[in-house]
């Protein structure tokens, strides 16, 4: 296991990058703590696979260094990094038995036979594969193949980290739950450093202790799932995490109020005495924290549509030409097209040029 440090990394695929637009991965410093469970989440094209490939050694970054426990491994190939990888499509040998598939990485390294047998049995037990050890890998279902793939990573005692690249994308939903639970249990038991790349927010958020959200070649926020949900550091995080994403509206700040288009006022929870000059100001509030109001209070909206998505309803409302999403309970009755919305106190955030503005809970003297 290892602490992995990315020191001032950047990567461009082309030979002569001339500006930020040529970089798939923009400058970043990042530390993956030993034994951490991380998810790397972002839309396709955000650079998450590039970042993963830099850690594994499939890509040598155009700038910066990669350190494993203080050792510079920037130029070392994957094989020399003791990295286990699990890909979207399981990489196993169809003609070999499950046992031989699991033993392969050890035999390849000349590990003694007794030790190989011992490790194979141990890993098979951990993954509930014992009954299948003598079966040929061909003909196994996708989830079992993926387990064998994972087992091949776990079988080595000297693994620095396990990298997962969309490991559950081709697995049926019912089995995803089992496999993810198993990966989590393994993480708890062995304290392995795990980095898990996915575009699926549920997968990322439920797997990881820390989620790294990437956008356009940059890390826009790293935090616990709760951080990302409750205090998105960037409007992109607000949009990307959560389904539907955060509502964002242009706003003008006046004291402890935000004035929205159409002159509607929203109370803010805090003071913002030092707002950046000339920045584009917006408020963000998640659909979970917007409520349709039965009484006369709140901002007047037109209900455009109500989508029933089973567990809940999503009301698409219009506030002076701006669309907002409002979540309502599964059995909520939403009548008519006129309603009012109220924002839950404590959940209205202020953004300047897309970045969260830290609130000040007390008015500064003379501020």
């Amino acid at each position: 296991m290892a602490r992995i440090v990315l020191d001032n990394i950047a990567h461009a695929y082309g030979p002569a990058p001339t500006g930020p637009q040529d970089y798939a991965l923009k400058r970043l410093d990042h530390v993956w703590e030993d034994g951490g469970a991380y998810a790397l989440l972002g839309p396709s094209g955000c650079g998450k696979t590039t970042l993963l490939n830099i850690i594994s050694g499939l890509i040598i970054p155009s700038h910066g260094r990669v350190h494993f426990d203080g050792t510079d491994v920037t130029e070392l190939p994957t094989a020399a990094r003791n990295i286990a990888q699990v890909f979207q499509f399981p990489v196993i040998y169809d003609t070999m038995s499950v046992a031989n598939n699991l033993a392969f990485p050890l035999r390849n390294r000349g590990v003694a036979k007794d030790e190989v047998d011992k490790r194979v049995r141990e890993v098979a037990r951990m993954l509930n594969l014992t009954a299948l050890l003598d079966r040929k890998a061909r003909g196994l279902t996708a989830d079992l193949k993926q387990k064998v793939s994972l087992g091949r990573g776990l079988v080595r005692a000297d693994v620095n980290a396990i990298l997962f690249d969309e490991p559950l994308t081709v697995i049926d939903p019912q089995l995803k739950w089992q496999l993810r639970a198993q990966i989590k249990a393994l993480h708890r038991e062995f304290d392995l450093t795990m980095v898990y790349v996915t575009h699926d927010q549920t997968e990322a958020l439920s797997f990881a202790d820390k989620v790294v959200v990437m956008y356009d070649g940059e890390v826009v926020q790293m935090g616990t799932p709760e951080d990302l949900f409750v205090r998105p550091a960037h409007t992109f995080v607000g949009y990307f995490i959560g389904s539907p994403g955060m509502n964002v509206l242009p706003a003008e700040v006046q004291g402890r109020r935000a004035v929205l288009p159409g002159g509607h006022e929203v109370a803010l929870d805090a003071f913002y005495p030092n707002l950046p000059q000339a920045a584009r100001m917006e408020i963000g509030v998640r659909p979970e924290f917007v409520h349709l109001s039965a009484s006369g209070a709140g901002l007047p909206v037109t209900v455009k549509r109500v989508d029933d998505i089973g567990r809940m309803k999503v009301a698409r409302v219009d506030l002076d030409g701006r669309g907002l999403n409002v979540l309502a309970a599964e059995n909520a009755v939403i009548d008519g097209d006129k309603s009012r919305i109220v924002f839950e106190p404590g959940h209205v955030h202020l953004y300047a040029d897309g970045h969260l503005v830290d609130p000040q809970m007390h008015e500064q003297a003379g501020g």
Partner: protein, 363 residues
């Protein structure tokens, strides 16, 4: 136009891939085929497209039998999970290619390519080559090429399995507009219940080559007619427990709880049943005065920030509760949770829905 499958069966050697399927899809509708891998989604689509001919039964368009008509003589577009683009053509030319083949006039071609590109959020990428795109962008290009043709039948076989869920959300917003504009029949295969619910429309649930239920998506979700459908249409997985109905009482396996056979349970015959409870109907906070308090052991918690999946060992079963908010619960600790009988599905020994609140019973 309607597409109709009438008692369609497909056998390959001794194996039955599709078993007696009858379905009818109307023009301008979205129809989701929902089921696990190997449940027959792709086989069914190939029969609809005319890529395969059924062993038995008929495929009809507007009442006309097209069972033997090959795919190239039908107005069909198909998109697969493993998508294909022309690597040496720009995104614009990739999207335009079916229209060029059809000799569509230049101005009309340009208008349709740009309209479809805008819909698929590809406008800034029109001059790029596929290899300069991310996987998701490549898949959107393949989708756009299928859409631009204006085919009568558009078959989408897990087209978003590799894509960001954000695009699915946006498609949900856009699809109704596309349907009314094109008037095509869309058929969309997926393994994911959440995707079916996000897309809306109608859903056919599939298991082992059979259609277990077909109807408006939310109705199939709310009122599954069998344990099989309920399981297919539940993510996280459906929680179930065996119960015995005897006299005026239902008693759970292991006598964990007893329930008077009142209200919607009153008409049940004595015998063995299985209760199905959706994870979001397993409550950590008491939902009402009639709820049954139960105690289980926490096996794991997964916290997404807005919700928590609490895995609970209960009576030898592994259950999942999907709860609002953040619930940090220690593994191995007892946890109290609540069952709300008004949310139960009761399935008989054969797996058919026997009782549920509001279900009218056959006399």
């Amino acid at each position: 136009m309607t597409l109709e499958l009438k008692h369609v069966t497909k056998k390959v050697q001794s194996e039955t891939h599709i078993q007696d399927v009858s379905l009818a899809f109307a023009r301008g509708t979205l129809n989701v085929l929902l089921g696990p891998t190997l449940s027959g989604k792709t086989s069914l689509m190939r029969l609809m497209a005319g890529l395969d001919a059924p062993t038995e039964g008929k495929v009809c368009f507007d009442g006309k039998d097209v069972t033997g008509v090959p795919v190239r003589k039908r107005s069909v577009a198909m998109v697969y999970q493993q998508f294909i683009n022309y690597p040496n053509l720009s995104v614009y030319e990739n999207i335009a290619s079916p229209l060029r083949v059809a000799h569509v006039a230049k101005a009309e071609l340009d208008r349709r390519v740009r309209e479809t590109a805008a819909l698929m959020k590809l406008t800034p990428l029109l001059e790029r080559k596929p290899l300069e795109l991310s996987g998701g962008q490549q898949q959107r290009t393949a989708l756009a090429r299928a859409m631009v043709k204006g085919a009568d039948l558009v078959l989408l076989d897990e087209p978003l399995a590799n894509l960001d869920y954000k695009l699915r959300e946006e498609l949900r917003e856009e699809l109704p507009r596309i349907f009314s504009a094109t008037g095509a029949i869309f058929v969309y295969a997926t393994t994911e219940p959440v995707e079916a619910l996000l897309l809306g429309g109608s859903t056919a649930t599939l298991a082992q080559g059979r259609v277990t239920q077909f109807g408006p998506t939310v109705e199939v979700y709310r009122r599954p007619n069998s344990l099989e459908t309920a399981r297919i249409f539940s993510d996280p997985p459906l929680n179930t427990i065996s119960v015995d109905k005897a006299g005026g009482e239902l008693r759970s396996a292991g006598d964990l709880f007893r329930l008077p056979a009142a209200s919607f349970l009153a008409g049940l015959r004595d015998g063995a049943y299985r209760i199905g409870i959706r994870p979001d109907h397993l409550f950590l906070l008491r939902p009402g005065p009639d709820a049954l308090a139960q105690t289980g052991i926490v096996a794991m918690t997964e916290i997404t920030g807005s919700e928590s999946f609490v895995h609970i060992e209960f009576g030898g079963e592994r259950w999942v509760a999907l709860a609002h908010g953040v619930h940090r619960l220690g593994i191995g600790q007892p946890v109290e949770f609540y069952l709300d009988p008004s949310r139960f599905f009761i399935f008989d020994a054969a797996g058919a829905l026997a009782a549920a609140p509001g279900l009218k019973r056959a006399a």
